[in-house]
Amino acid sequence: MIINSMRLFLFLLCGLFGLGLNAQTNSNSSTIIANKFDFSFIDFLISNAEFEDALLLLRNASNQIAGTDEALNDSLNYYKGIAYYNIKQLDSSASYFEKIKSHSTFYLKSKFYENFEHIYLGAYTTADQKLKQMQLVDSTLIELKRFQEGASALLQNDFERFNQVGNSFKYNNFACAEEQRELFKRRDELLQNKKKSPLLAGLMSAVVPGSGKFYAGYRGQALSSMFPTLIFAASAAEAYHRAGPKSFQFIAAASIFSIFYVGNIWGSVLSVKTFYEIRNNEIRNNIMLDLHIPLRRIFSN
């Protein structure tokens, strides 16, 4: 029993000393040293969707090797970035991808993922800056970079910049050609989704109840909000005609009509904004989806 425990301890220490020894080795041989480590178990965990387990190991490993070996740190940061990306903690993922140095083999992949995450999180300025700094030679990656730049511009409603970037698309790479074309469709959809006037919607509903909602884009709701208002208007008119302006019937019907009438106007004013935002979010979500697909295709993750 004691011997077995000792052997286990020694076996486990094997890994620990691996980390510890590398921490003490000089930086010139950092790449070689990093290669001595086998991250394939982390890879194994990630490929089996055991992201929390992978992160637990990576966190412990980080505590052991913090600030020691650059290549090793790059690997740790890369795997942390991938694990966080998979559990959809994109801000954490981006922060680890950001730490990866330019000479790392993981650099390009992590930069594209990081850019995607910044764009997804709405940090467009950061994404644009990082995309600008990328120096690429591979034609596929150049197209991917242009695609991300285009998507970022579109999400910022910067159509002029999108047109500039979009006109440089070559559509010569299957990995992103279709999505590049899709971006132009999204641009047209965004341009068609114009902001309408809440004042005009309110005025329209004041004249013809429900017409403001029709103008805002909610065609079905226009009728459903028009009918109750008209019903109570008719009821109030009837009460006025039959019982006079001071009668209980008229006051009750007119009060209910007023509530519906004013509510309808106010609802029309708000609906202009909500219709625009819902449609806008729909288009933006489609852009995000398009943004994601080439990444998966190129880096097969």
Partner: protein, 283 residues
């Protein structure tokens, strides 16, 4: 501290895998389930033979079951490769997979695991041990006749004295009597009933007072219309009175449908929970 990184090119020997496995077991015993799970996964990663891998996956699934993460337990067990396993390991794997799926509310998958076990395990004495779980799965799937047959055959194959056995058989027969089995009512039928005769859908679902209230409110709407028309308030009566009636009429239909679903759920739950207690007491 977790020291799980290895050097590249390093391959673990059988005894080292056993050591990791024991480490995992000891972590499991002290309820460090996540860590234990990682070590079991390391065994899966390092082991060459499928039997060791399968055992480790079963243990890892136990870690998730202890953590009440049934979805993950199900996912881990789906990684088992059944090709060259012996009957007892196939049994264990299928049993645990069925259990994880059952706990996860995935009853069709749970039943599929039991059916596969029955098809692929030659040793029927092993498969019989799955029957209590299968009964619970069948109950949840509302296949009561099949559940009763499976439970009866389980009791017949268990090693008990004949008095005890016949008492159990009697208990099962009594529990699964036709008048005790949940007879579900059709939510669609309830809706249609309320459509033709307001309130009857709720009555059909067993909610008399709700039905009466709904009828009362609809009658109020119609009465209001009548009074208004009588007093020559044609618009008010025709539109507002009818709107009140129409709202409660439409709402009543939907409510009848919902109440039938609620009633079905309640009686099913009561029966299945009782059956669960009985099955567990028979194991």
């Amino acid at each position: 501290m977790i020291c799980i990184f290895r050097f590249a090119g390093y391959s673990a020997t059988e005894s080292e895998i056993q050591l990791i496995s024991r480490k995992a077991d000891s972590l499991y015993l002290v309820k460090q389930f996540q860590l234990a799970g990682i070590y079991y996964d390391q065994v899966v990663y390092l082991a060459q033979d499928n039997i060791t891998k399968t055992k480790a996956l079963l243990n890892k699934a136990d870690c998730y079951l202890e953590r009440k993460d049934f979805t993950k337990a199900e996912a881990v067990l789906s990684r088992i490769f059944y090709a060259d396993l012996n009957d007892s390991l196939i049994y264990l794997s299928r049993y645990k997979s069925a259990l994880a799926s059952y706990l996860n509310g995935n009853f069709s998958e749970a039943a599929s695991q039991v059916i596969q076990a029955r098809s692929f395990i030659a040793d029927t004495t092993l498969v019989v041990n799955m029957f209590p779980l299968y009964v619970l799965i069948l109950n949840e799937s509302r296949k009561y006749d099949e559940a009763k047959e499976v439970l009866l055959s389980y009791i017949k194959t268990t090693h008990r004295d004949s008095i005890n056995k016949s008492a159990m058989l009697r208990e099962v027969e009594l529990y699964y009597q036709n008048n005790k089995i949940p007879h579900l009512k059709s939510p669609e039928k309830a809706k249609k009933l309320s459509m033709f005769l307001p309130g009857t859908g709720q009555l059909y679902a067993g909610y008399f007072w709700e039905g009466a209230l709904n009828v009362g409110l609809q009658l109020f709407g119609l009465g209001f219309t009548g009074v208004c028309v009588y007093n020559k308030y044609y618009f008010t009566g025709g539109l507002i009175g009818f709107a009140i009636f129409q709202k409660f009429y439409g709402g009543g239909m939907n409510r009848a449908q919902f109440l039938t679903e609620k009633r079905n759920y309640k009686i099913t739950r009561r029966f299945n929970d009782g059956a669960k207690k009985m099955v567990l007491s028979m194991r």
